[in-house]
Symmetry: C2
Subunit: 387 residues, 2 copies
Amino acid sequence: MVKELHSDVSDKAAGIDVTDGFEPFAQRNDIFTRAFWDPAVRCARSDAFFASYRMEATPRRGDGFGQRDFALRNASWLISDVMTDRFADQGRREGFQAPISADTPVAPVALKVTDSNEMSREIKKVARFFKADLCGITGVDSRWHYSTRIDTRDLSDAPNNLPEGITSVIVLGHEMDADLVDTYPAATAGAATGRAYSQEAATVMQLAAYIRNLGYEAVPSMNDTALVIPYALQAGLGEYARNQMVITPQFGPRLRFSKIFTSLPLAHDSPKPQGVRAFCDICTKCAEACPVKALPFGPPEVGGTNISALKGVRKWTSDAEKCFGFWAKLASDCAICLRVCPFNRDFRKWHHRLWLRLALSPLRRVALWFDRGRGGRKKPGAWWSAP
Amino acid sequence: MVKELHSDVSDKAAGIDVTDGFEPFAQRNDIFTRAFWDPAVRCARSDAFFASYRMEATPRRGDGFGQRDFALRNASWLISDVMTDRFADQGRREGFQAPISADTPVAPVALKVTDSNEMSREIKKVARFFKADLCGITGVDSRWHYSTRIDTRDLSDAPNNLPEGITSVIVLGHEMDADLVDTYPAATAGAATGRAYSQEAATVMQLAAYIRNLGYEAVPSMNDTALVIPYALQAGLGEYARNQMVITPQFGPRLRFSKIFTSLPLAHDSPKPQGVRAFCDICTKCAEACPVKALPFGPPEVGGTNISALKGVRKWTSDAEKCFGFWAKLASDCAICLRVCPFNRDFRKWHHRLWLRLALSPLRRVALWFDRGRGGRKKPGAWWSAP
């Protein structure tokens, strides 16, 4: 645990609604970790799901689930896998159940930082150079840090420590390939996830090494150590949506997030809520499209149906058991809720930016109407044969 | 060694001029390996050069050589470094003095390949998905394979083996950052090199894993195992130039190459010489700009001034000792010859494509005249402060 720290950003501005019943999350309760110890989740199918990612191929019937589809998906994870496995013998599944170990020491002489605004600008430039698609910076908020992490050797709780002096969190966004996201559910689509994780690993490691070379602490982190979604909200990268994702003005929900905990003096960003919440209030496309109805149709609520839900936060919460059960059945990750989201657009294009303005205005129902017929599944075979 | 194989591409088409005195290259004679065993190359400065890449920072005076410049350069190499170090205890400096070890087995069931043209198209698509900027495919040519590689534990010669059944070489191009290349010589510029190597490592490993998942051998390779330049020429990616680089129609010389040796049935590309040789015949910008005059001013010749030259090939050959001596002095890589090359342009832009047509036409002297004043060094400080 980091020492008790609270963000300099107001929860209201970030769209976060914490109640008295709040409890920090224990990593052992996330659905992927439960798949190893909890008989309510673990089954032959969930074991086969994990095994399929490290087997040479897992072909079966159906477009998007053949040998080349699994071959692509598994290859796409490779760089993430290499980093994840490096200290497995110490019980550290890095990037998932432990932060990524530093490869470079903190330089003995620290660069003098006189202007934290300028340093934040520079960090964002270096983040872009290392292929991050988005970068926001916020303060440490210990509420989002896992109360304990997991030692993967025996699935026992392990202390979730960070070095002394961490004050800021750099949150990075990594775009997922739009054409492959359009093919969910398919093993082919899983390559969009895997490639983003591999890129995440490379980017956080390189940016953290840069900061360490400047003489400051920097801990590269993917899914480990803390919840990234509230940090992304506090860092002003986007707004929380019904499909459990952060909607960004650049890629909608079509990206993954990673983070770096650092002692480098940095100016912090602010949330800029635009109205995603009001749109999600009238849109249930993700909840309707979910084959196992794991997403909520109603307003945000406190709690959830099982221990994988974050306690004491009023928000849209999925039924993680139903969700992961479907992944295990597919032997691949599902993100239909991402594919069908009306915000799943490329806002670098002007006509999508125009739609976004409409969606965030009182005319949001018109925007929703314009979205009809979008978000259908594209055939994985068509991805392969496209030039 | 691979068994004696010769390319299906004629040397003439590829612009390769091999004479009777040809000898395969022994890796111990490359200038970087010599820097560890040859007293003619190794000195306190060359040791300091290598050490500077793995130290937390090596600041000294001058724009482009401060703490943040070295911090960026060294961080940019990180992914390549991690891969390079994995089997160092076995004497394998992977990607440089040994191919990269496979992380995935060859799938027991091989995908049936009925159309090698279609498979080549698919491989190029997957290469692009894994962020290769160029991809060409050619046959194995054992002339370019090192006669021996180096065991980095004791610098002894080690056998340079590939698995049985390798028939094709997939050659990948990785663009270097144009803005940073403009700052050579500078530690900042070295980040363009390091980031490209880190990307190379990720891309060749992922693409090779994909092929292995299809049930075929695939060996990911960076600078190790074989000379990549003749392979890039045979694979039709570009033409050889006075500055020792391959000029491509997409990025000119501003890229690095990696390769994969594979048994996957693939159709091969052909060289398409456009006239770079004739342009280099009238242009000596690189040779003039070289601070230590390591590049030749005259026509291609057989041989070179020292044992780092490839024997028995008529070509432009640098004086590797002078070249590397300057790198050691800088404590960073130099590529002034890349920066000043008239072909160092972004040919995705129409006006540069227009210039290219002129440069490859009988009006090449006009193109050279239009190039005057280009290629000057941009200040590293300006790179940092640019938005």
